[in-house]
C-alpha cells in the first residue's frame, strides 16, 4: 500500500511561525467557547444552581457514557450578534448506552432557554443531522418557548421543529424528551411530539397556556401544577411516561430508555483493526499557513488523518491541483478530494466528476478537503468550457448519494465552494479550521471588481471618477468582506457545524463516519445528464 511520506521540516522557522499563528487563532476560539459555556452569565448560572439545577452541559455529561467522546455542534452559533453566543441551546452527537444519539439541551440560564432565530437555526441543523444519520434524539428540555421579542422571525418557520420530531418518529428514529423545567406554549410540543417523555417531579411544567393566559382566555383560575405539573401529567393527562424524582433520575431513565431502543447500525462496521497515522497530527499546526495565499500540499494533511498514512492516489498526473484517491479513516473506507493549489481548472473538474461517480459505484463515502479560490477564469478557460467542466463536477457532487464530509482547511471561494461540497450541497457534516475563510470571492478582488464597475459606469456617463472616494469604498468593502469571510462569522450563522482544532480533524471525521454508518452507505448508480 502506498504510504505517504513525512516531508515536514519541524525545525524550519516557517513551521514554528505557522504553528504560533494558528495557536493564536485557536486561543481566540477557546475564549469564545468559554463565553458560550458561561451561558447567561455568572449571575444567571448562580441563580440556576441555587435552585438545585444542573447546567445544560452538566446534564449532557451525565447522560453520556462515561469517558465517551462528545462532538458539540455549532457551539459558537450567534457569535458576534446581539444574542448570547451559543444560541441558548447546546446540541451535539454523543454515545448513550453504546448508541450514537443526537442530544439537544436548552440553556435555561440564557433568557429561560427561550429560542431565538439563531438557536432555531442551530436546532434545525441538529435535527437534520439526526434525520440523515438515523440518530435517536434526546431532548433535555427547559425552555419558555419562543423568544417573544423575535417571534416574527421564528414563529412561522419554527413550526418545522415539531414537524421534524414527528417525522423522525415516522421514520423509526426514536425521540426522547427529558423535561427538567418549563416547557410551555410552543415548547410544550417538543415533549408533546416525542416518543418518550420523562418529567422531573416538582420541576417540569408543560402546558399550552400558563395561569395568566388561561385567566385571560377563559377566566378559569388555576395553578402551574394543575395545568402542567409533572405529577399531573404522569397520573392524570398521561403525557409523562415516566416521573423522575430529580434531574439525575430523569437522566437515568433517559439512559434506560435508550438502552431498550435496541438500535442496530445498518451500515458496514469499521475494520476491526487498523493502524493510526504514522505521523503526529500535531504537525498540522505547522503545516497549515494562516495566510491563505500560501499554498500547502493536502497530502501532508492526509498523511496525518488516514489510517496508516496510506493513500492510493487516483489520477495523480492529471488535473494535479486537485488530489483524489482512496484511503481508510478510523476503519472506514473513504474517497478523498482535496484542493492542492487552490484553482480548479477544466481537468480538475472532470477528474472530480469521474472520481465522485467511482465512489458512488463502490458505495464509498467522500471527504472534501477545501482549499480553493474557485474555478479558473479567463479567455482560455472559458473557451475550453470551464463552465461545462464545473457543471459536471457540481452535478456529480449534487447527485452523489454516498455520505459527504467537508472540511474547510483554508479558502472556500466562489463556485469552488459548491463543487467542493459546501454547505448548500448538504455534506453530512462540515467543519471549519479557524484559519479558514469563505465568500463569493476574495475581499480585494471583490472590492476591485466593484471599483472597476463603478469606474466604467462613471466613464460611460462621462463623469469624473472620484479616486479618493474609490479608495475609501474599496477599503470599506474589503474590511466588510474580510470580516464576513471569517470562520467565526460563518460559524455564527450555522454555515458550518463548528470550528475545530485541525488536530481534532481525524477524531471528528471518525465520529462523523461512524454516525453516517447508521444507514447503509449506498452510492447513486445513475446521475443527471453530464454536459459534455
Amino acid at each position: 500500500m502506498p504510504v505517504l511520506p513525512d516531508r515536514v521540516d519541524r525545525d524550519a522557522p516557517e513551521f514554528a511561525a505557522r504553528r504560533e499563528s494558528l495557536l493564536e487563532m485557536l486561543a481566540e476560539h477557546d475564549r469564545q467557547l468559554a463565553l458560550a459555556n458561561g451561558g447567561g452569565g455568572e449571575r444567571a448560572v448562580e441563580r440556576h444552581r441555587q435552585r438545585g439545577k444542573l447546567l445544560p452541559r452538566e446534564r449532557i455529561e451525565l447522560l453520556l457514557d462515561p469517558d465517551s467522546p462528545f462532538l458539540e455542534l455549532s457551539p459558537l452559533c450567534a457569535w458576534g450578534t446581539s444574542y448570547t453566543v451559543g444560541g441558548s441551546v447546546v446540541t451535539g452527537i454523543g454515545v448513550v448506552e453504546g448508541t450514537e444519539v443526537l442530544v439537544q439541551a436548552h440553556d435555561p440560564t440564557v433568557r429561560g432557554g427561550a429560542i431565538n432565530p439563531f438557536g432555531a437555526k442551530k436546532q434545525g441543523r441538529a435535527s437534520q443531522i439526526a434525520h440523515e444519520n438515523r440518530l435517536p434524539v434526546v431532548n433535555l428540555v427547559e425552555s419558555g418557548g419562543a423568544d417573544l421579542p423575535t417571534q416574527s422571525e421564528i414563529f412561522i418557520p419554527g413550526g418545522s421543529g415539531f414537524r421534524d420530531l414527528t417525522q423522525k418518529s415516522a421514520a423509526a428514529i426514536p425521540t426522547i424528551s427529558l423535561v427538567f423545567g418549563n416547557s410551555t406554549a410552543g415548547g410544550a410540543y417538543v415533549p408533546g411530539m416525542s416518543d418518550y417523555i420523562v418529567m422531573v417531579e416538582g420541576r417540569a411544567k408543560v402546558f399550552l397556556g400558563g395561569p395568566p393566559l388561561v385567566k385571560m382566555a377563559t377566566g378559569e383560575v388555576s395553578d402551574d401544577e394543575e395545568l402542567g405539573g409533572a405529577e399531573m401529567h404522569a397520573r392524570t393527562s398521561g403525557l409523562a411516561d415516566y416521573l423522575a424524582v430529580d434531574e439525575h433520575d430523569a437522566i437515568r431513565i433517559g439512559r434506560q430508555i435508550v438502552r431498550r431502543l435496541n438500535r442496530q447500525k445498518l451500515g458496514r462496521p469499521p475494520a476491526s483493526s487498523y493502524s493510526d497515522p504514522l505521523y503526529d497530527i500535531d504537525d498540522l499546526l505547522g503545516i497549515v499557513p494562516t495566510d491563505l495565499r500560501e499554498p500547502f500540499d493536502p497530502r501532508d494533511v492526509l498523511a496525518r488523518i488516514l489510517d496508516g498514512s496510506e493513500f492510493d492516489e487516483f489520477k495523480p498526473l492529471y488535473g494535479s491541483s486537485l488530489v483524489t484517491g482512496f484511503g481508510q479513516l478510523h476503519g472506514y473506507p473513504i474517497g478523498v478530494l482535496a484542493n492542492a493549489r487552490g484553482v480548479l481548472f477544466n481537468e480538475e473538474s472532470e477528474k472530480a466528476a469521474q472520481f465522485i461517480q467511482l465512489a458512488n459505484q463502490i458505495d464509498t463515502p467522500l471527504l472534501f478537503l477545501q482549499n480553493t479560490t474557485g474555478y479558473m477564469v479567463g479567455k482560455e478557460y472559458e473557451q475550453r468550457g470551464i463552465i461545462k467542466a464545473g457543471a459536471q463536477m457540481i452535478n456529480a457532487v449534487s447527485n452523489s448519494d454516498v455520505p459527504h464530509f467537508t472540511i474547510n482547511m483554508g479558502a472556500s471561494y466562489g463556485a469552488g465552494n459548491y463543487g467542493m461540497c459546501g454547505r448548500a450541497y448538504n455534506p453530512r457534516v462540515l467543519f471549519t479550521w479557524p484559519n479558514a475563510k469563505s465568500a463569493v470571492m476574495g475581499p480585494a478582488q471583490l472590492a476591485g471588481v466593484l471599483s472597476i464597475v463603478a469606474r466604467a459606469s462613471a466613464e460611460a456617463k462621462g463623469q469624473p471618477y472620484d479616486e479618493e472616494a474609490d479608495a475609501a469604498m474599496r477599503e470599506m468593502v474589503e474590511n466588510q468582506i474580510e470580516a464576513e469571510s471569517k470562520a467565526l462569522f460563518l460559524t455564527a450563522r450555522v454555515y458550518d457545524d463548528g470550528i475545530i482544532d485541525p488536530r481534532d480533524t481525524r477524531t471528528v471525521l471518525g465520529m462523523a463516519l461512524s454516525v453516517a454508518h447508521n444507514n447503509p452507505v449506498q452510492g447513486r448508480r445513475g446521475f443527471g445528464v453530464f454536459r459534455m
Binding site: 467557547l33 458560550a36 459555556n37 452541559r57 452538566e58 455529561e61 451525565l62 457514557d65 462515561p66 469517558d67 465517551s68 467522546p69 462528545f70 462532538l71 458539540e72 457551539p75 454515545v95 453504546g98 448508541t99 450514537e100 417531579e201 405529577e231 397520573r235 424524582v245 439525575h248 433520575d249 437522566i251 437515568r252 439512559r255 447500525k265 487498523y274 500535531d282 478510523h330 476503519g331 463548528g498 475545530i500 482544532d501 488536530r503 481534532d504 477524531t507 471528528v508 471518525g510 465520529m511 461512524s514
Partner: protein
C-alpha cells in the same frame, strides 16, 4: 502391606491439594471428599474422583468417618490420608479405616491414643526420660508445682479447658471451671496443674518412624509467633537452637516417639525457656500444617515418606541421614481482620495470586468462596533462602506483591512481622503479639499518598475499560470534547467516605487529574483496563487493576487496595415513589392499620383497600412518621384519593 494405588484424602482445602500433588507425582490415584460448602474449591476438581459429603458443618461432613470410609470403598481407594485436624488424630477412625481393609496413612491407633491423653503422655515421657514440666494431678499437689501454673484438660486441645493461675487462692475455682469446661467440650473432666512458663519459645521436632524400627529426627521448627494459641509464623531451623541443642532435642523427640511405638510422621512439641532448657508439651500424631519448612531445609517430601511408610517400606536413605540447608519461613494467610481481634472474614476471593519466588500451598484460587464453616486459613506461603534474613525478605516481598482481594486477610500483619526488628533478631516467643499490638502491626501497608495514587490508577483503569468496551468510537480519544466544559470523574468508596477522582485526558495523553480535589501530577505511559503504567508525583510504577461487580482492586509496590465504584445514578428502588399513599383504584377501605403520629418502617402496611373482590395493601414507601390519616374503615374512596401521608425520615 500392599502397595498404595489410590488415596482418599479425608480432608479439604490446601492439605488435600498438598497430598494429591505428591500422590500424582508417585503415580497414585486421588479421591476427594467434599462438603456442600466446598463443592467449588480447587481440591475437588483436582482429584481424579470426588464424593460429596452432604451438609456443611464439620460434624455432618469431614468428621463423618463412616461416610469417608464408604466414599473410599465407592471409589476404589485403598488408602486414607487424614491430613491435619478433623479425623487425623481420631484413633477410632484410624481403626475403622484399617478394619475396612484400607491402609491408614498415619501412626498406629494406639500411639494416637497414648498421645491423645495429655496426662498419660506426660507420664510416658517422664518415664522415657524426656524432660517435662512439673505437674500435679491434684489441687493439693499444686503448691509443689509452683506458680504461675496452668490448669489443663487432659483430653483438651486448642486452648479450651485451660486456665492460667497466678494466685494460689484462685486455684480451686480455676480447677472447677476448667474441669466443667473439659467435661463439656471433651466428655472427660480430668484436669491437671502444670508449671506455666511465661512467654516461652515454641520449639517442635519433626520425627519420622517406619515399620522397620527406624526413628529419625528431621530437625526442629520454631512456631513461637501465635495468636490465640494458633501459629501464624513458623520457621526451620529455630534461631535459638544451636547444633548441640538440636541434637539434644532430636534425641528427646526420638525417645518420645519410640516410647509410644510411633510410625509415620509426628511432631514432638516443646516449650523452651530463655536459658534454653526445654520441656515436653505434647506430641502431634499427624502431619503438621507447618511441615513445608522442614521439607524446604531437608529437601524431603514428607507426604511421600508418609506414603512409603504406610505401604510398609523402610524410610529411604536420604531420610535416615537427613541434612539441612538454609532457612525456611512459613506464614499462614488467614481470612481474618487482624486489626479487629482477628475476626474471621468470609466472602469471595475476587483475586488470589501469590507472587513468585516462594512456595504457596493454598486451598483457594481466584473466585473461590471463603465459607464460615471451617478454619479461616486460605494458604500457606513459604520462602526458603540461604539465610534467615533473606528468607524473611523474600517472603515479605512476595506477600507484598501478591494480589489478594475480596476477602480481608492478615497479609499486611504478616508482612510487618517479617520486617519487624525483634523478629529479625530472632527474639520471638509466644508473647510476641502481646508486645506488638496486632491493631498497629496489622494496619494497612498503604499510606495516604499510596491511597491517592491507587485511587488515581483505579480511575484511569476504569476509563481504559470504558474505552475498550465501547461499542462505537472505541479508538477515539477518551472523553474527547471539542468544547471542554468539565472533567470526567468517578467516585470511589473508602469505608464510609467517598473519594472523587476528576480527570481529563488531553491531547497527546497528557493528564490533568485530582483526587479529592487535590491535583496529582500524572504522566501516563500506557493504560489498559488491567494495568496502568504511570508516573505519579514523579515516580513511575505499574499498577495492576481488576474491576468487577462494582469494585476495583489495585495492587502496586505501594500495597493493595480495593474501592467500591459508586454508581452515577442511585438505584431507583431506593427512591421513594412519591404519592404512593393514594388509592390505586376506587374501592372500600377495609382496615386502617396506623394512626397519625405512628412511626413506620419502609414497607409497613398502612391501609387495606378492597376493590374488585381483591384486597390491596398500601404500604409505607419509606421509614418515617405518619403525619396524617385521611380515611377510616368502611369509607369508599376514589382512585387517587389520598389515604395517608408519611413524612420520610431525613436520610431516606
Amino acid at each position: 502391606m500392599a502397595a498404595i494405588r489410590r488415596i482418599l484424602v479425608a480432608n479439604r482445602g490446601e492439605i488435600a491439594r498438598r497430598v494429591f500433588r505428591t500422590a500424582r507425582e508417585m503415580g497414585i490415584g486421588t479421591v476427594a471428599v467434599y462438603s456442600d460448602a466446598d463443592a467449588d474449591l480447587p481440591f475437588v476438581g483436582e482429584a481424579d474422583q470426588a464424593v460429596r459429603l452432604p451438609g456443611t458443618s464439620p460434624a455432618d461432613t469431614y468428621l463423618r468417618g463412616d461416610l469417608v470410609i464408604a466414599a473410599a470403598q465407592a471409589t476404589g481407594a485403598d488408602a486414607v490420608h487424614p491430613g491435619y485436624g478433623f479425623l487425623s488424630e481420631n484413633a477410632a477412625f484410624a481403626r475403622a479405616v484399617v478394619a475396612a481393609g484400607l491402609t491408614w496413612i498415619g501412626p498406629p491407633p494406639d500411639a494416637i491414643e497414648a498421645m491423645g491423653s495429655k496426662l498419660g503422655a506426660k507420664r510416658l515421657m517422664r518415664d522415657a526420660g524426656v524432660p517435662t514440666l512439673p505437674w500435679s494431678e491434684s489441687v493439693e499437689g499444686a503448691a509443689d508445682v509452683g506458680f504461675p501454673l496452668l490448669v489443663k484438660a487432659s483430653a483438651g486441645g486448642g486452648g479450651r479447658g485451660m486456665r492460667i493461675v497466678r494466685d494460689p487462692a484462685e486455684l480451686a475455682s480455676a480447677v472447677e471451671v476448667a474441669s466443667r469446661e473439659a467435661a463439656g467440650a471433651f466428655g472427660d473432666a480430668t484436669v491437671f496443674c502444670e508449671r506455666y512458663l511465661e512467654a516461652p519459645r515454641h520449639i517442635e521436632v519433626q520425627v519420622f518412624a517406619d515399620t522397620h524400627g527406624n526413628v529419625v529426627s528431621l530437625f526442629e521448627r520454631e512456631c513461637s509467633i501465635q495468636r490465640r494459641h494458633q501459629k501464624i509464623v513458623e520457621e526451620a531451623p529455630s534461631p535459638a537452637v544451636d547444633a548441640d541443642l538440636r541434637a539434644s532435642l532430636g534425641d528427646a523427640a526420638v525417645a518420645a516417639a519410640r516410647a509410644v511405638g510411633y510410625v509415620g510422621a509426628g511432631t514432638v512439641e516443646f516449650v523452651m525457656a530463655p536459658d534454653s532448657s526445654y520441656a515436653f508439651l505434647e506430641m502431634n500424631t499427624r502431619l503438621q500444617v507447618e511441615h513445608p519448612v522442614t521439607e524446604c531445609i531437608t529437601g524431603l517430601d514428607l507426604v511421600r515418606l508418609q506414603i512409603l511408610v504406610a505401604a510398609g517400606e523402610p524410610l529411604p536413605p536420604e531420610a535416615l541421614a537427613p541434612t539441612m540447608s538454609g532457612h525456611a519461613i512459613e506464614v499462614r494467610l488467614y481470612a481474618e481482620d487482624a486489626t479487629n481481634g482477628f475476626l474471621p472474614v468470609t466472602g469471595t476471593l475476587r483475586e488470589f495470586d501469590i507472587a513468585g519466588g516462594v512456595r504457596s500451598d493454598s486451598g483457594v484460587e481466584s473466585g473461590s468462596v471463603v465459607s464460615p464453616y471451617y478454619d479461616a486459613m486460605i494458604a500457606k506461603v513459604i520462602a526458603h533462602a540461604p539465610s534467615r534474613g533473606e528468607a524473611a525478605a523474600r517472603l515479605a516481598a512476595a506477600l507484598r506483591a501478591s494480589r489478594i482481594h475480596g476477602v480481608t486477610t492478615n497479609r499486611d500483619l504478616l508482612v510487618r512481622i517479617l520486617g519487624e526488628s525483634e523478629f529479625l533478631a530472632g527474639a520471638t516467643d509466644t508473647g510476641y503479639l502481646e508486645r506488638h499490638a496486632p491493631a498497629v502491626l496489622g494496619a494497612a501497608l498503604l499510606d495516604d499518598v499510596g491511597r491517592r495514587h491507587h485511587a488515581a490508577a483505579a480511575a484511569l483503569a476504569l476509563q481504559a475499560a470504558h474505552r475498550a468496551d465501547a461499542q462505537v468510537w472505541s479508538r477515539l480519544p477518551s472523553g474527547w470534547r471539542n468544547n471542554p466544559s468539565q472533567r470526567q470523574h468517578v467516585v470511589l468508596g473508602e469505608g464510609d467516605a467517598e473519594i472523587r477522582v476528576d480527570y481529563v485526558i488531553a491531547r497527546a495523553g497528557s493528564i490533568e487529574l485530582a483526587v479529592g480535589g487535590e491535583p496529582v501530577a500524572v504522566q501516563l505511559h500506557s493504560s489498559a483496563a488491567d494495568v496502568i503504567d504511570a508516573s505519579m508525583d514523579g515516580v513511575r510504577r505499574r499498577y495492576r487493576v481488576a474491576a468487577a461487580e462494582g469494585t476495583v482492586d489495585v495492587d502496586s509496590p505501594l500495597g493493595s487496595s480495593s474501592f467500591p465504584v459508586l454508581p452515577r445514578f442511585e438505584d431507583p428502588s431506593h427512591h421513594v415513589a412519591a404519592g404512593s399513599l393514594v388509592a390505586p383504584m376506587p374501592g372500600a377501605v377495609v382496615r386502617v392499620l396506623v394512626e397519625a403520629g405512628a412511626t413506620v418502617a419502609k414497607g409497613d402496611p398502612l391501609v387495606v383497600l378492597e376493590a374488585m373482590k381483591m384486597e390491596h395493601t398500601v404500604a409505607s414507601p419509606a421509614a418515617g412518621t405518619v403525619s396524617e390519616v385521611r380515611v377510616q374503615a368502611g369509607q369508599q374512596v376514589d382512585s387517587g384519593a389520598v389515604l395517608a401521608v408519611v413524612e420520610a425520615d431525613a436520610e431516606s
